[in-house]
Symmetry: C3
Subunit: 269 residues, 3 copies
């Protein structure tokens, strides 16, 4: 319960402080990601122009890099944005969308891993592809190998860093039937990162927030269309009572956390 | 009724098999097209990057090419995607958006016609511009001349190939008041094409599916906003009973089909 | 009341004449801007391709230039579009999105000011940055210095040109929690400009229309998601009775208008 209060408190902070989150994301996800950020009180920006991306990252509180659509302009934008983020210690999230679908994408994702994201967020296929690429296994392996916090989404979401892990069993099946919900989840992690209270806390709080809001919205939705906007409504009104009533989050002990390293995609925890 | 069962069965197949549909489409339509595909159970992808579009098309089951926004990147993406689609016999749909508004666009659409789309889908102004450009007249003329199945949307939708045609009188006026509904209709045809049961069947089934879902959503909508998400809800829940209750589809005999060649834009059938 | 009838009449004209509005806008705003235009009866187009943008602007009735995302392609598109707009006297709107966030953006916005937009629309931070850049102060100063009509959005919206101003106190707090509502507001001004009854009338009518529709939608919304689609529903159904019941618009006298020049961002009028 203490942790749920912390999560609700983080949401309150977002609404008060309206941190700026710069998103380099795919075209299909840009608008919905911006709307998710606005729904929790954050301030999104989306520019990719090489002449100004430095200014935007420099005045932002956190950065999202989502590789859902790649092109020369985004390549350059990512390079410049990460240069500034590293220099000015801005926290950032990597969302390796569909990294399993092309060799080119996997190569790029690996290069981004080398820069050191604070959080990596993907589904089990994506996390597995990335883990394999760095010679590790499962989300805990990837976390250990990269030093990042890893969020692996699925029926059960897993959030782990070296030696620590939680599982979250909230959400709704319709969430995977709306494009950009996952991508917006990465943007949400960036918003929580902007609060500067640690990557692991930011990652599980953002994940729990999205999942509980999705569960609230899903319980009233008639289909993916109403889930899409209902999720925004739910996010904007989420409070500690809803967390208390709905959250199914579990902290794993060291032993259980260690076994995450060997989890296969699709395994339940 | 037999044909309506076939259509419902195709929808069931989409939900079970989740075929991959790669969409090269315009920026304004990307998210909604992805959501329409997800609503019927298909798996969308949208990459335009020349380094990986081959991989995406190669692992996709069907391809959509929508020329709603054109640029150098899309030009190159289309060229590469069609190269793979031809080599690996992937079915594809051409949506010649606003081909009547610019000479450049018409020239590009003609070049795409030469590659041989399985289905061409447009409104009567677009189909007429394309038919005229190849020296034909109306949707049946365009179908005969290109060998493609042609879907001409309007108050009455016409789906025809050489010697065969159906008309569909479903839908709702609000559908034309929401951007990307037409573009998403092209993506939907690609999803049905992915089932590999013939271009003509795919085209009328997809058209009927969109129209009936639009009619269901339109009957409850308070305006274009609620139509937009209601259409996604309706698509995700559509069943054979709704087809049976609502479908107004008519198979034309040879004589009537032949006269389609001479239809002018706006003519009713 | 007479002016509210004029505003309702302008909306009727939009629905009857369906003017074409070409939008050069940012990726996150493209779809929603198109939907707002469709909701009031206008016909949007969004192409950025240098080979055809001239054709699109030439056959359009008004033009929007929104600098929310900038890149080389948009730079070139803007240059070509404004060339045609000037030559053919097409009215156009400038939306200097986040012009305060980067020096590059401010430089571009200043160059666009030199071409002479009919209307400039931004929030108080943006208008202030632009006014300062041309050595003026506040919306009235910017209007006087540029000859444009200026719309400054906020809790109270201000619409002014040299020697004339109105304030509008409609709208809903949720409107600023949905991405692209502001950007779509710029597109709406362009739609009203297309009616060719003067930039000042177009600017306040469009602003009042968006604000009243937002207020109608906001009163029923459960959060930003339902505001987003409810605004489209409200726009499509807006009538003179709603304007009469809700509009809080005030014409300022010369003295009050003059003081606008010295307003600081955030000042109420």
């Amino acid at each position: 319960m203490e942790s749920l209060k912390m999560c609700a408190e983080a949401l309150t902070q977002l609404r008060c402080r309206a941190p700026r989150v710069h998103c380099i994301t795919n075209n299909a996800a840009a608008a919905y990601s911006a709307n998710v950020l606005l729904a929790v009180g954050a301030t999104p920006s989306l520019s990719l122009a090489e002449q100004e991306i430095g200014d935007f990252v420099s005045t932002a509180d956190a950065l999202l890099i989502n590789i859902g659509t790649m092109d020369a302009e985004r390549d350059r934008a990512i390079e410049l944005a990460l240069g500034v983020a590293q220099k000015e210690s801005k926290p950032w999230v990597l969302d390796p969308v569909m990294v399993d679908r092309s060799a080119f994408r996997l190569k790029q994702a690996k290069r981004l891993l080398d820069v050191g994201p604070d959080v990596i967020r993907g589904n089990s296929t994506e996390i597995d592809a990335l883990a394999t690429a760095v010679g590790a296994s499962g989300p805990a392996g990837l976390a250990k190998c990269t030093g990042a916090t890893v969020v692996q989404t699925g029926v059960t979401d897993i959030v782990c860093r070296h030696g620590e892990a939680v599982t979250i069993q909230n959400g709704h099946p319709l969430m995977s039937r709306v494009t950009a919900v996952g991508c917006a989840g990465g943007a949400l992690v960036a918003a929580f990162l902007a609060l500067q209270h640690g990557a692991f806390s930011a990652a599980w709080e953002a994940t729990l927030t999205l999942d509980v809001a999705g569960e609230v919205a899903g319980s009233e939705a008639r289909g993916p269309g109403s889930l899409q906007f209902g999720l925004l409504d739910a996010l904007s009104g989420l409070d500690v009572d809803q967390f208390a009533a709905l959250a199914r989050i579990q902290w794993l002990d060291q032993e259980a956390t260690r076994t995450l390293g060997g989890l296969k995609p699709g395994d339940s925890v």
